[in-house]
Symmetry: C2
Subunit: 233 residues, 2 copies
Amino acid sequence: MTDIDQTIVRLLDDPKSIFSLLTDEERGIIYQSMTCTTYKKGELIYKEGDKPAGLLSLASGKVKIFKEGVGGREQIVRMVKPGGFIGYRALFAGENYNGTSVALEDSTICLIEKESLFKVLKSNNELALSIIKKMATELGFSNTRTVSLTQKHIRGRLAESLLFLKDTYGFEEDNMTIKVYLSREDIANLSNMTTSNAIRTLSTFASENVINIDGRKIKILDLKRLERISELG
Amino acid sequence: MTDIDQTIVRLLDDPKSIFSLLTDEERGIIYQSMTCTTYKKGELIYKEGDKPAGLLSLASGKVKIFKEGVGGREQIVRMVKPGGFIGYRALFAGENYNGTSVALEDSTICLIEKESLFKVLKSNNELALSIIKKMATELGFSNTRTVSLTQKHIRGRLAESLLFLKDTYGFEEDNMTIKVYLSREDIANLSNMTTSNAIRTLSTFASENVINIDGRKIKILDLKRLERISELG
DNA sequence: ATAATTTTGTGTTTAAAAACATACAAATGT
DNA sequence: ACATTTGTATGTTTTTAAACACAAAATTAT
């Protein structure tokens, strides 16, 4: 069995993934149609306007999805962790990609060819229902985020982003360090603020002993306080 | 046949609705489980935290769905027109309502009981796929909106909202007047700005002959220009 | 190793929009 | 019909965050 085969099998056999709803036959169809590609840190996975070839599943690494706004300013709309899907929205909407996807670390991404996916989807109703549920949850998240990003002040937005990163990627073994290492610019683009303001506000949080910063390593020292800052707006 | 029966039949027989995908038997199940209620203008349909009893379909009238943000400020996340669904996101996510829904005019809303809906959904795969597509489209809209509301300046946001209202509700017979009559406060809550700024900016647009205002009646005089203002941010 | 580039950090200025303060008109309730 | 509430309108002040400018540190490329 090759490395790639192992990667695919690991993805398909994850009991928490939607693939656990597949019959052996369906799993076979998906397995046959899967191809994996590796991306270097910073590499483009797809860009706005590209046509989805199928469903992308992140086997390892970390990925950001962003949209370009006024004057090319980017807003990160999703952060993907291993086991997560990339660009599924455009695929299911029957549209071209609406955002751009870039690897934040070296990543392995597996493509499930569109035709095979829809074939299985048509035969497996439970799978379709599970995708409906997943998308409804994501839509709720997006709506909540819209309100946060528009109404909260800088401190609240940054605090929320740090909590979001913690929830998405978790902590390192020390139970404090957020397990993702973003540039200040990415943190800014996630939080709807300029890089200067992200840097400034992170420094302020550090001086208040809410977090500790060491380069790109961010430790949450006072989670309760960070949550309060996020809620207060 | 009662008025209510007619209302239901009209909803179910709309060839553009997802109900057109149902078999006669399935349509019967849905029909049996449907009950309609009328709401007066300004009346609450559900509020954040309520548990969905089923799928709400707007037979007639207009409805807004909003989320409360920092300091109770409301952000309108969706505007519903006849034939549209209300609160389906929470139902499909298996969550309680995340937003609040209020009738903007006297409205008739029909409830499809949850159990019947899911029974049909489990048997009709095409329906499930169509809902996936609908939600994927909505999610794309939500993401785009997030970027607009956070990055565009006041003029751009207001212009976008006016265009959105026009796209959603269309024009009156004169092909100019937007077919929805909102308070300045609602326009502000749709556009992420204060009521004062909505009033001020509407006045400016009127003085520039981009629109014409007469109370709550808004005429788009220069669509191209409005689109340009929206795009420029 | 060293130059080039990117990222991080900080101070200052400027612009945008919120908050506040009224005033008046319109709609609603009694 | 009158009082009360709600909605619309405008001017002024204050706050917030963006824009700009620059410097130092860290990466990356050559």
